[in-house]
């Protein structure tokens, strides 16, 4: 009925951008993970030495990063679920306002949020000043800053809007009629929640979890700026493309991180799909 050629012509520029700026660079990036660096120059090769080196040198960092990303993704997804649930079922006319807050904090402020948490958690930061002014503490608490907790708080804050929106999008598909029908058939609050709300939000929950996990596992700025000595794999990857100049190793580290992240995500999704409410 419609002209196929015109359809492809319309899609062509987007496909071109996707192909030359995403597929091609990633393919090349994967290829160089099997290369070597000789005298500061890339040398084509077919070696798995870089991957072996990742496991030799960076395995503890990698495992720590995956664990931390898991904690961050679980916390963010749960909080995002609560917030989406609040917007959809509890907030009534205030729902749009809460949604608006999530949307505003979505666009804008990755670097500014990290910077702001530096000023909140630091020794002379907002939190210490406030606690001191209230007379709750006499000396600033040094453990607020430059540790794992600060990284978790900052990343959860940054990722939360990204978790709220997909979960809310799938909850929007649940109609009031379904919920009322369930109630009329005698389903209590918990039963409606576990038999309708959770299964129907599955796609959103999985999308939120996967996104939060990948972005947390690949972050390198937050640990540097608020984490102090907290060592995530991204902190080790970034300098391979700066001062250290070992691109093949950096590439191998990136793909090991991506691969192991995907493995953790798939495993978590399989576990989530086991949700058999009773």
């Amino acid at each position: 009925m419609r002209d196929r050629g015109a359809t492809y012509l319309l899609l062509a520029p987007a496909a071109l951008i996707f192909g030359t700026l995403f597929i091609l660079p990633l393919a090349y990036f994967l290829v160089i993970s099997f290369w070597r660096v000789v005298l500061f120059k890339l040398k084509p090769d077919l070696t798995i030495a870089n991957y072996l080196q990742v496991f030799e040198l960076h395995l503890p960092t990698l495992l720590f990063t995956l664990g931390l990303a898991l904690v961050i993704a679980v916390v963010t997804t749960c909080l995002g679920f609560v917030y989406a649930y609040l917007i959809r079922f509890k907030a009534g006319r205030l729902g749009p306002v809460l949604l608006f807050v999530a949307l505003i904090t979505l666009f804008g402020g990755y670097l500014m949020k990290i910077y702001s948490w530096m000023t909140i958690l630091g020794i002379t930061g907002v939190l210490n000043t406030a606690l001191k002014a209230l007379g709750l503490i006499s000396e600033p608490l040094p453990w607020l800053f430059y540790n794992v907790g600060a990284v978790v708080v900052t990343l959860v804050n940054f990722l939360l809007p990204l978790a709220i929106l997909p979960i809310y999008a799938s909850m929007r598909g649940i109609t009031d009629i379904e919920m009322e029908a369930a109630r009329d058939l005698g389903a209590g609050g918990w039963r409606r929640f576990s038999d309708i709300v959770v299964p129907r939000s599955n796609t959103g929950i999985m999308a939120a979890f996967a996104l939060c996990f990948l972005l947390a596992a690949g972050d390198y700025l937050t640990p540097q700026l608020v984490g102090g000595k907290v060592n995530m794999i991204g902190v080790q990857i970034a300098p391979q493309f700066g001062g250290l100049g070992n691109w093949p190793l950096g590439s191998a580290m990136s793909f090991v991180t991506l691969g192991s992240s995907l493995a953790v995500i798939l495993l978590s999704i399989v576990l989530l799909l086991q949700w058999r409410p009773r």
Binding site: T7, A14, L98, L221, S251, T257
Partner: protein, 258 residues
């Protein structure tokens, strides 16, 4: 709903809103402090850090780069994204959804990985790095948003009006410019503004692909790496005003209702 549970949910809502908004609010607040630290107490309000930002020799070039890059990204995304959305609207829904999901893949990658992969690619392809490579990189993550927003608008678009125009002898291109575009223009502009906001806010990918020169986010980064003064808050506030302003106009134009 009984009252105690309402109060509990209200409290949770307030806590969430404070948690989400306070970091951004504090950035803005400290931009107007008279003291040399971004900290309480704020003794008096002052514009001295805005002045400090303005006289910094790196500021104007960074502002110019940011505006030029995000403007170009917005324009290209509006054109290419609208074309792609029109193409998707002609496919059956299952295929269109699949194509849209594939287009969104770059959003799932950590920006660090995308940034270093693009860096190595540009270097291999001997593309000189600068604002032009930043624009190319930003297209990758800004385009999916434009395609999705415009495609969503076209999904409840009455294509019979276009068919009428075609029956009356308008070429497909003419029918697009006289019928389709005027109807979907607010959505296209809104989507382009979102693309601009995303581009303006990006730090990581810009950092790896700009080589030399600065945008506002890399300018802020340089400031907070050295001596932290509230001048960083002033630049940050400027970025927030631009990105959130663009988002607000976009939401209003596309009449986003969740």
């Amino acid at each position: 709903m009984n009252r105690p549970s309402n109060i509990v949910w209200g409290g949770i809502g307030v806590l969430f809103a404070v948690f989400l908004l306070s970091p951004l609010a504090l950035v803005v607040l400290f931009a107007f402090t008279s003291r040399p630290q971004s900290a309480f107490p704020i003794e008096a309000l002052s514009l001295r850090w805005w002045e400090a930002m303005w006289v910094n020799p790196n500021f104007v070039p960074a502002l110019w780069n940011s505006l030029m890059i995000s403007g170009t990204v917005g324009l290209i995304c509006a054109i290419v994204g609208t074309m792609a959305a029109l193409g998707l609207a002609q496919l059956d829904e299952r295929r269109a959804r699949l194509a849209a999901a594939v287009l969104c893949l770059p959003l799932m990658l950590p920006p660090l990985v995308l940034g270093v992969a693009l860096l190595s690619f540009y270097s291999r392809a001997r593309i000189p790095m600068g604002p032009q490579t930043v624009i190319m990189s930003h297209l990758l993550f800004a385009l999916p948003f434009v395609v999705l927003v415009v495609y969503a608008r076209l999904r409840n678009f009455d294509f019979r009006v276009v068919e009428s125009a075609r029956d009356l002898g308008a070429s497909p291109v003419r029918a697009f410019f006289t019928v389709t575009l005027p109807i979907i223009r607010p959505t296209v502009v809104g989507a382009a503004l979102i693309a601009m906001a995303l581009s303006l806010d990006d730090f990581v990918i810009t950092f790896f692909t700009i080589s030399k020169g600065m945008t506002l986010p890399t300018f802020v980064f340089a400031m907070i790496r050295t001596t932290v003064t509230p001048a960083a808050n002033a630049v940050g506030t400027l970025i927030l005003v631009m990105t959130i302003g663009a988002t607000l106009i976009a939401l209003w134009l596309t009449r986003y209702r969740g």
